[in-house]
């Protein structure tokens, strides 16, 4: 068993690997009454091409998400969700770019809930009728996002930034692409990816380590199923596909998303990825964070009436930084940002202060069972140990940050997406 520890914030993550390949993460949280259990697989929306036992498979868009919806259906058509709720567990599932996870949090009936969840994830039942019904539900989910301007501006940005990488496709696919999903392809995906050796369990709460290891062990098969699986990665050029995209929707104030394509992610090891992540966040805060000169200027010009989010996202072979905001004049904001990128001189005191701020925010993540569990789980799925972040806040130097700025925040890597008001 591997134990990771952060002595300053007093957090530990225990990692146990079973004989059949399943990995278990335990995050003990003394004093909390709620327990979170997550059971997930390394199968997300970007895993759309792979070779299984020598056969090459290409998947319809949105299938990982479709499969996530279907796993909750049992043989007798009863739906597992209601059973878990009735026991007092709050249950859900989600699909990301690189993984799918099923989870619940509960205070009572933890073991019983775990048994139900494990059973349904390990023995789902797909029928044509059930698939057709679920397609209607998923269509409504996709249409809900199609009406959402924030999701539109974000998706358009990725679609313009990437030429080949499946990150440019919505996790849920499209209303058309989900029409091509049938029973056979769902079973093929399930059999390829939902093998315990490709899966991870995470338990977060006031639990005993040994008991948890033996309890989870009792819910999974001992046998190792041999699957020869190879995910195929697309070849993605460094160049941005289309530098600018504009859409129109029935909204009032326009939305703007500015992306920076990071093409060097595959060259970095895990430690370097963590450092890069923190550095990009520092750069973005220094450029456009609430204490920056640019933010002040935009705010005083009434250009930032709503929320501003600054985010860096990375998974195995794809990474980008994104600045998203509601703004009365997207073109002017783009111009001002470009000017700021040319003229900014970074100040070391500001760097120190922002680094401290981000460290404080990292610590605050550990306030809630679901935040901790989900962060640790998502990081683990992309090969990262969350607790390694702590010491890297210290390690980052002012020079690292300047280097990241020069490398990533260039006009060449930049792409913009705007959603404007539709004139009637």
């Amino acid at each position: 068993m591997k134990i990771l520890e952060d002595k300053i914030i007093k957090e530990k993550v225990y990692i146990h690997k079973y004989g059949n390949g399943l990995e278990l993460l335990i995050i003990p949280k003394k004093g909390f009454i709620n327990k979170l259990l997550m059971f997930g697989t390394r199968f997300g929306s970007i895993d759309n091409k792979f070779v299984i036992n020598g056969e090459k498979v290409e998947l319809p868009d949105g299938i990982a998400h479709f499969l996530e919806h279907k796993v909750f259906e049992e043989k007798d058509n009863s739906v597992v969700l209601a059973k878990l709720s009735a026991l007092g567990a709050l249950t859900n599932a989600y699909t990301t770019y690189d993984h799918t996870t099923y989870f619940f949090d509960t205070i009572d009936n933890y073991e019983e809930c775990a048994k139900i969840l494990f059973k349904c994830v390990q023995s789902p039942h797909f029928s044509e009728d059930g698939i057709n019904n679920e397609r209607d539900v998923i269509t409504q989910e996709l249409q809900m996002y199609n009406d959402d301007e924030n999701s539109k501006v974000y998706m358009n940005l990725l679609e313009s930034m990437y030429s080949n990488h499946p990150i440019r496709i919505d996790i849920g696919g499209t209303v058309d692409s989900v029409k091509n999903i049938d029973k056979d392809i769902l079973y093929k995906c399930y059999n390829s990816f939902y093998n315990v050796s490709n899966m991870v369990v995470c338990v977060c709460g006031d639990v005993d380590i040994d008991e948890t290891i033996s309890f989870i062990g009792s819910l999974i098969p001992n046998k190792i199923q041999k699957v020869d699986l190879k995910k195929l990665s697309p070849v993605e050029p460094k160049k941005i596909l289309q530098k600018k995209i504009v859409a129109k929707m029935d909204i009032h104030t326009p939305l703007l998303a500015i992306g920076f394509k990071d093409s060097n992610i595959s060259l970095r090891n895990n430690d370097e990825r963590i450092k890069y992540d923190i550095s990009v966040q520092i750069v973005m805060d220094m450029l456009l964070g609430k204490s920056s000169n640019l933010y002040k200027e935009l705010y005083y010009d009434n250009l930032l009436p709503g929320r501003l989010t600054l985010e860096y996202l990375y998974v195995k072979d794809v990474a980008y930084a994104i600045m998203q905001m509601s703004t009365t004049n997207p073109e002017l904001v783009i111009e001002k940002l470009k000017n700021e990128m040319k003229s900014i001189s970074f100040d070391e005191n500001t760097f120190q202060r922002i680094r401290k701020t981000l460290y404080g925010e990292y610590i605050k993540e550990f306030n809630s069972i679901s935040n901790i569990g989900m962060t640790v789980f998502a990081d683990y799925m992309r090969g990262i140990n969350t607790l390694d972040y702590s010491e890297n806040y210290e390690k980052i130097s002012f020079d690292d940050v300047k280097q990241v700025f020069n490398e990533l925040f260039t006009e060449e890597n930049m792409c913009v997406s705007i959603v404007e008001k539709k004139e009637k």
Binding site: K29, N34, L90, M144
Partner: protein, 424 residues
């Protein structure tokens, strides 16, 4: 977990939650005043103007830098409707002193009180430039209410149901109100609030209670707080039942229709609040609810279908996003669920399972400082004194007939539908 409650000088209530499990301290202040047509917009402007500058930090950049220096203290505000009241909420969250070996708590308390009680003034009033700008930004925010279509539909339905009541006022106020606002008017309103609001200060930290209480008392020696006269409305908003259901159909450019049903509960004072909350849970909170099981799972009309009981009112809402052509079907299915509740068609599983869900929601409040604080602040505003544990106990003892009695008192008031332009 119960908060210790003290009445301190000047008609201020102090609540303290001693905790050892979170990484952060939370300091919050709730200022409660009556929700009135003439002051709704002005009150929304108050936190916005306070965030612009304090006597110590004269603009928003200086404020932000001071917060960043406290390991990224997060300061937030909101102005919410609660029954017949409008509540101005202020929060600051900081990393605990014990983690970073610094006296963050006292420094953050100074910043927090500075932001509320020591605004930046010129010639004895708010700075003209700041007021003009915040008016402009609020105008944009109000215009943006159409952006989030589901939320827009939800608010529009409340507006229709509460046509005659102040609760129907739009939470951000009205553009026309802004025209005549100047710095003197806004400053007067600010003084009025400090003089007349019900003030609750709620703090969660790991420090000694006496020390925290002293820290607060020592600092609350502002002249304006002397001889306060509290004006607020603990009584709930009550909407009379109607026999004329309203049918409202509006059009915006949407792909998916947004359907909201506004319901009222007749003679609500006859029922225990927890009976109503349990009814709401059986109807539409989790995946074992009637709405989820029938609207989503059985009829696959939607991705989500939920109900919400608006606390401190007698209004219950049902909302869902559907294909525009499914309008009639969706209404039939939703009405059937309400009818089944009234007729007592509630299975044992539904009843007990929903009790479990509701109890879980209450129990998990104890795992979040923000939720615990919010719970007790609401208790204080409603002038009730029920602990979380007592609430759980009450839920556990609810009889089926109580829920049926509530269901019998439910009357449909408004059906609101947002559909695409030009649709039949």
């Amino acid at each position: 977990m119960q908060l210790k409650k003290y009445d301190i000088e000047n008609n201020i209530t102090f609540h303290y939650l001693k905790d050892d499990k979170y990484k952060s301290n939370v300091i919050s202040m709730f200022l409660t005043v009556p929700l009135l047509r003439e002051s709704v917009t002005l009150n929304v402007l108050i936190p916005s103007i306070l965030k612009r500058g304090t006597q110590k930090y004269q603009d928003l950049q200086a404020i932000e830098i001071s917060l960043e220096n406290l390991y990224g203290a997060s300061f937030g505000t909101s102005v919410d409707k609660f029954g017949n009241n409008q509540v101005l909420k202020f929060y600051i969250e900081t990393v605990k002193d014990s983690i970073v070996n610094d006296n963050i708590f006292e420094k953050s308390l100074d910043s927090f009180l500075g932001l509320i009680f020591e605004p930046y003034l010129e010639n004895g009033t708010f700075k003209q430039e700041y007021v003009q700008q915040e008016k402009e930004l609020l105008k944009i925010a109000i215009e943006n209410k159409i952006n989030d279509k589901m939320n827009y539909a939800f608010n529009r339905c409340i507006e229709e149901v509460c046509e005659e009541e102040n609760y129907g006022l739009y939470s951000l106020g009205y553009i026309n109100d802004l025209i005549d606002v100047n710095n003197a008017i806004l400053y007067n309103q600010y003084m009025y609030i400090l003089k007349n609001a019900k003030i609750d200060i709620l703090i969660s930290s790991d420090m000694d209670e006496k020390y925290v209480l002293k820290c607060v008392k020592d600092r609350l020696n502002y002249e304006i707080l002397k001889f306060r006269n509290i004006i607020y409305q603990p009584k709930a908003t009550y909407i009379s039942s109607t026999n004329n259901e309203k049918n409202i159909v509006e059009e915006l450019d949407v792909i998916q229709g947004k359907l909201v049903l506004g319901l009222t509960i007749k003679e609500i004072e006859k029922f225990d609040t927890y009976d109503i909350l349990l009814l709401n849970t059986i109807l539409g909170i989790e995946s074992n609810s009637k709405l989820y099981r029938f609207v989503v799972e059985k009829e696959h009309l939607a991705y989500e279908a939920i109900s919400a009981f608006i606390r401190n009112t007698n209004v219950l809402l049902v909302e869902t996003g559907i294909d525009i052509v499914s309008y009639d079907k969706a209404i039939t299915v939703i009405k059937k669920q309400l009818n089944d509740l009234e007729k007592g068609n509630i299975t044992k599983e539904e009843f007990n399972g929903s009790k479990n869900v509701l109890m879980t929601l209450y129990k998990t409040t104890n795992d979040s400082a923000f939720r615990t604080i919010s719970y007790y602040a609401n208790q204080s505003i409603m002038n009730t004194n029920i602990t979380i544990e007592e609430a759980i106990n009450k839920i556990n003892n609810i009889k089926l007939k109580n829920v049926i009695n509530v269901a019998k008192a439910i009357k449909l008031n408004t059906i609101y539908f947002l559909k695409n332009r030009g649709a039949k």
